[in-house]
Amino acid sequence: MGPERESSVPHHRERLTAFTPLPPERNGIADYAAILLGALADHYDCEAACVDWLAQAPPGVAVADPALAHRCAAEGRALHQIGNNPGHGFVLEALRAVPGVSTLHDPGLLHLRQATGAPRETLLAGLRDTPPAFARYARQVAAEGRWSRADHLLFDMAGEVLARSRAVAVHSRFARNRLRVLHGEAATAHVEVIPHLLPPLAVPSREEARTRLGIPPDTFLVCTAGFATAAKRFDWLIAALDLAAERGAAALWVHAGAERPEEFPLAAAIAERPAVRDRARIVGYLSEAALTDHVAAADALVNLRFPSAGESSGSLARGFAAGVCCVVSDTGAYAELPRDAVLHVPLAGAVPALAEALAALAANPNRAAEIGERGRRFAEAEMALPAVALRYRALTEASRDRPVAAPRRAAPAAPVVLALGPDLTPAAVTRALRGAEGPCRLLLTTPDLGALADLSLERPALLDALLPPWATLRAVRVLDGPRPALLLDLETGPDA
C-alpha cells in the first residue's frame, strides 16, 4: 500500500487516539511515537493515551488516561504502539478494547507478556502456535516451566495482536515474513511494511558536537547507543576493538546509553580488555540533545544484532539523520538496508570482519563520511517523516472497516461438561476448553462414583493426562448425585 493521494483523503479531521508510551519514558518507542504523533497531528486530532498522564506529548497532542480512552477512541481511529517490554502492557490491554492499527516494533512479545505478569498458563498458551520444528522443545518448556533466552526467538506471542488489529505495521520485510511464517498468509494479510521514520533532528556539525564533548577532531570515534542488551553484541564489538587496537587502529568508543548489567555486563566486559578499557566510555542515558551530539560527533555508529527477531532501531535512524557511517549486522531487518548506505558485518566471523572494517574506516575517514552521506540520502528518500505519516494515514483509513477477531470470551459461568469415560481423550478436552481464558470450570460426569474409581485406577494421573498444558488445575471436587461428577476449577491461558 503506497502513500494515499490527496484527493482521496477525508477533508474533515477525525480523532485519532494513540495508545503508546511517551517521553520521558526511556524507551525508543516512546521517542518514535512522540515524533510520529507530531506528524500525524497534521492529519488528525490526535490524542495520546499513556499510563503517565504527565508525559511529554508533541504540541497539539493531548495526553489522556488509557483506562478511560475506550469511551472516546471507539468513535475515532486508534493506533497502538507495541514493543516487547513491560512499558507496553497497557497498549496490549487497550488493543483488546479498541481495535485499530498496531505497530509491532518487535514481533516477539514474549518478554512483554512475561514482564506484565501474564500467568504461566497464558505464556504456555503461546506455545500452541509453535512451528512443528520447535514443537518438541515447546512441550519440554511447557512441562518444566523453564524459559530461556532462546524462547524469545522461537516462540511468538503476536497472534493476539494480529487477530485484534485492523492493520499491523512493521518496519521491515523481515518482520513481516517472520509473522507470515509463524501465523500464515491469512492471519498476516493485513501486515504492512512502513519504514522506520527519520527523526527531524537539528544535527550539529561533527566539529561542533566534538567541541561540546571535548573530543579531538582527529580521533576516530565509534559510537553505540541505546540500552546495552545482550543482543546488541557488545561482546563482538569489544573483541573487534581489541583486535583493531592490536593492529594499530586505536579508536575511541563511547556508549551513549545506559548499561543493563543483568542483560549484559558491559563495564565488566570492557574492563577485561586493557586495550579497550582505556579508550572506552559509558556515558549512561542521555538527553535528546546530548545523544544527538554523540551520534553527530561519531565517525561510525555501530549497531549490531544477533539474534534478531526483526526489531527496528531508533539509534540507527538517528545515525542516518546525522549522516554518520552506520555499521550493522547482516541479519534481520538490517540486511534489507542498501549495501552502499551502511556497512554490513557478516554474522559468521563477525569479530575479525568488524575489526577490519573499523580499521579501514579509521585509516580513511573520508570513506566513512561517504557511506554516512549515502545512508542519509537513503533515509531521506525512504524514511522521511511526512511520508511515513502519510503511510500511517493511508493504512488507518484503508483498514477502518476491516473486521477483527472477537474479543476472547470470558470463562463461561457454567462449567464445560464432558462425559468422563475410557473414550475421553486429551484432544476432546482441549477442544472443549479452547477459547476460555482465566478461571473456568470443567465438569466431568460419570455414571456413578464406582465407575470413577475404576477409571482412576485404570488410568493413573488421569487428570494430568487429560488436561492441556495451558490449563492448570486449581481444585477438584467430587460431586455425589444427582449427577455424579468431578468438578475441576481450572486456570487457563488465552486461545492464542
Binding site: E47, A49, D52, W53, L54, A62, V63, A64, D65, P66, A67, L68, A69, H70, R71, C72, E93, A94, R96, A97, V98, P407, A410, A413
Partner: protein
Amino acid sequence: MTAAPLLAALLRAALPGLRALDLGLPEPALFPWLPGTSCGVADAEALPPAEAALLRRFRHADGRPLVGFDRAADAALLAGASVAWDDAPERLIRFAAAPPRGLSADTLLLAPPDAEAVAGAPKARLLLLLGAGDTVERHDLLVPPPRLDAIHAALRGAAEALAGAAGGRWSARSLAVAADMASVALLPDDAQAFRPPLSILAEALVHDLPTRAGPDGLDLSDVRQVRLLLGTAPARLRVFVRGDASGAALFGDGRRLPATLAEHPTGESCLEAGPWPPGTGAAVLGLAAPASARLVLTRLELLP
C-alpha cells in the same frame, strides 16, 4: 439538571441511620450525594469489558471493590448481613433496571417508576416527585407494607423542612393514594434546583489506589496519579491538596481539564477545574502530579 442532591437530602433527613447502596452506575442517584453510600452495578458482566476493567479498579473507602465485582461480598450485602452494612439500622438499595435477587425482605428499595419489586416480597410504594429546574424526577421507594405510614410521615416531615431550608420557594405535598401507595412531592416554584455544595473528605472517596486514606487525607507521595469515582459529572469541582501542587493536573473522564491553582486559607492548595467534558459513563476524576510534589489529597468539593 438532576434532583439527585434533593433526593439524597430528603432520604437522609427522613431515615435516620440510613446506609444506602446505589446500583445505578453509570448514572447513580444517591452516590455521592448521600454520604457513606456504596455504589456499584447490577450486572457487571453486561458491561463492555473495558468499562468493567475500569470500574473493577475502584475501592470503597473501607477497601471493598464496587458492588458487582466481588460475588461473595455482594451476596452478603444483598442478603442484608449486618456486618456488610456496618450494622446500619436502615438499609436502602437503589437500582436502575431489574431489581437484584437475594434481597432481604426488610431492605428498602429505590426503583425507577413502576419497577417491579422482587418476586415474593410484597412492598408498598412511595412515589417521590422531586423537582430540579424545569424537570420533575420520579423515584419509587418500595417499603415493607407495615412501614408505609411511618415512612410516609417521615418523608412528609423531611420534605416540609427542606422546603423551608432549600433556598428559593418550594412546595411540599404529600398524598395517601391507597393502602399500599402514597406520594411525597417537593417541587420548586421558580424552576430552581437544590444543589448545595458537597464536600467529600478523602477518607470517604472511592479511588483506585491500593492504599486507604486516613484522617489526614490520601497520601499520593508514592504515586503519580489517582482516579476518583464521582459517578455524576460535576458542574464545578474543587480539589484540595497539601504539598506542591504547582505541577498537578486534573483529568475529567480521562481528559485533561483546565484548572486554576490557588492557595486556600486553610493552608491547602486548591485546584479548581474547568468545564467537565461531555461524555458517557460514570464520571471519573483524575489527579496527577510529579513524584516530587508529595501531595496529600484532603477533600473534594462539588459545587453548584
